[in-house]
Symmetry: C2
Subunit: 348 residues, 2 copies
């Protein structure tokens, strides 16, 4: 399953808003269309947003810019600003854009810049798949034999370059024969769990059960869940985790029931500039996502609703944060910074 592909000058992506019932693709050479696809959640998942944004710059680099390197850089920065503004919470978006811009800024000519931007976008994509495999291998060691694991939202192939973060841990643990069962929360309002995670679990042949979000606590209390594994959209320097709305509740319920609560994400999700969760901007989305379900209105007309797309889980509820660099545990203020340094060093 390839959620996104670079087709020499065009980007092709799975339209995730239409899954699982329709497998449709969006193909475009215009980064503005990619930005719109991000806003409308045709493409989503923090690591995949980073990849998409990087390809967006590769598309922007191919547009006529007037001939000078300065003009091209200005054009890339404008495109980066538009792509960056699409979704404020995902750290990987900014991380990827900054990484590609830095490469462009170091290029000696327009042609070199265009080529290096494209190469860097492809590298970000390839690296993500490898990074996810390492996250999976690192995280699988946390899953005990014959476990039932609960996960939230979608963190699989569809959320990344193609392997998954928390889903990568699930996948790796299942491949090792350690994992017996996955409980997937449906993840209202946009049902990424019901639509996407259930679909990926079915394709992979991993035994699973779908539940409404509010049934997770009761399952934990009845001893049916041995671990919770979720992804992240941004991790603050102190280990506070911004992730899909409902993650905080799962973390509190896991702690209350002695169930370990793991976060799996690439180091590119760690934002050392955000000292703590309070510094993370939480995206507020349209009320209509709450007042309707799968296009059908479910509340009286005119019902007011709030729709925070994410919440912040304080670090004290997080048993471990799994990245490609290893398993970080409290005090996260030290261990996360060390992981980021390790990864930076490994890339020279």
């Amino acid at each position: 399953l390839r959620p996104i592909e670079w087709l020499s000058g065009r980007v092709r992506l799975v339209d995730q808003a239409r899954l699982p019932h329709v497998e449709a693709y969006l193909e475009t050479a215009d980064y503005r269309e990619l930005a719109e696809a991000i806003r409308s959640l045709k493409v989503r998942g923090a690591p995949l947003l980073g990849i998409t944004a990087a390809y967006g710059l590769a598309l922007a680099a191919r547009e006529p810019s007037g001939g000078s390197l300065e003009a091209l850089l200005a054009q890339l920065r404008r495109a980066a600003d538009e792509l960056r503004a699409t979704r404020p919470t995902a750290a990987n978006l900014t991380w990827a854009l900054d990484r590609v811009l830095r490469i462009a800024e170091g290029a000696p000519s327009v042609l070199a810049a265009v080529e290096s931007v494209e190469a860097e976008a492809l590298r970000i994509h390839e690296e993500d798949v490898a990074v996810c495999r390492r996250i999976g291998a690192n995280g699988a060691s946390l899953i005990e034999s014959a476990s039932s694991v609960l996960t939230h939202c979608n963190t699989g192939s569809l959320a990344t370059g193609g392997y998954g973060t928390a889903f990568g841990v699930v996948r790796a643990a299942f491949d090792e024969g350690w994992l017996d069962h996955v409980y997937a929360t449906e993840t209202r309002p946009l049902l990424q769990g019901a639509r996407l995670t259930a679909w990926e679990l079915q394709r992979e042949g991993i035994p699973h059960t779908l539940i409404v979000d509010s049934a997770a606590g009761s399952l934990m209390r009845r001893g049916r869940v041995e671990a919770v594994v979720v992804g992240a959209d941004r991790i603050a320097a102190n280990g506070d985790v911004a992730n899909k709305i409902g993650t905080y509740s799962l973390a509190v319920l896991a702690n209350e029931n002695g169930v370990p609560f793991y976060v799996a994400a690439p180091t590119s999700t760690i934002d050392l500039d955000a000292r703590e969760g309070e510094a993370i901007t939480i995206e507020e989305r349209a009320a209509a996502e709450v007042t309707s379900l799968a296009g059908t209105p479910i509340a009286p007309e005119g019902t007011p609703a709030v729709n925070p797309a994410f919440d912040v889980t304080p670090a004290r509820y997080v048993s471990a944060i799994v990245t490609e660099a290893g398993i970080a545990r409290a005090p996260y203020g030290e261990t996360l910074a060390a992981q980021v340094r390790t990864e930076a060093a490994s890339h020279g």
Copy 2:
């Protein structure tokens, strides 16, 4: 708003499965149709189920039974068994059926039995409205000035004889000018919060905001909720509370955030025969309620799901249980039994 009415020999009820978009009624003289309406959630809400079941017996009493008192009683017991089996968790169902059967068993003749069954059903209905008003008055005193309260599922006019339990507390506190705002959880899978509570709040002009179930914890953490008030389907002797799936999560999250967690229910919901929550049967409903919405599938075909309709909240998370007899606090083993005795005494 009258969710149910006795029309001398027929029962008329609002078809709640079609609200809020269609205001339709079901009218029947056949208790079997009432049983089916209960099973399919056309009528729901623990106190209203008690009233509905009582009217069911009033309908059954009018059917030809052969002439003898014994034959009539046998017919009523068969009808009671069918009505009792519709939904296993709601205590009020059994409570009302037993109360009506007891009256029939004390009647001196067939005619007297038929008349007394009908009179008792009407009395149960009338009493419920009065009981809810007392619950509201008792509970309102717990709501501090200018509060935002969060409630779950529907506990309003549509769940009772016509005033509400937890919703009655909300209503009474709002009428006193103490309540500023209500957060209503949508309550997946059947959306009683989005469909019914939002509708009642709109009709009453009480300022409100709808949220997905999994956003409640984050709202509490951000200090936006001063109290949680929910209803109950069955309360064990030790204060453990069976209520709509998700209630347990709200209770844990409220405790974690120092938010008081109140349960409002008539004493008829207290089951002193259930020593603790473990003794309460939790109804498991069809997976299709999770995997689809109003006939629209939201998960891949063949996705397995579990759908427990209720969960059990251990008494230690419950700040107070409000009944028509007053406000019970821990140790519930003593205070709940005292409230049941008080109510029994007040009815002679």
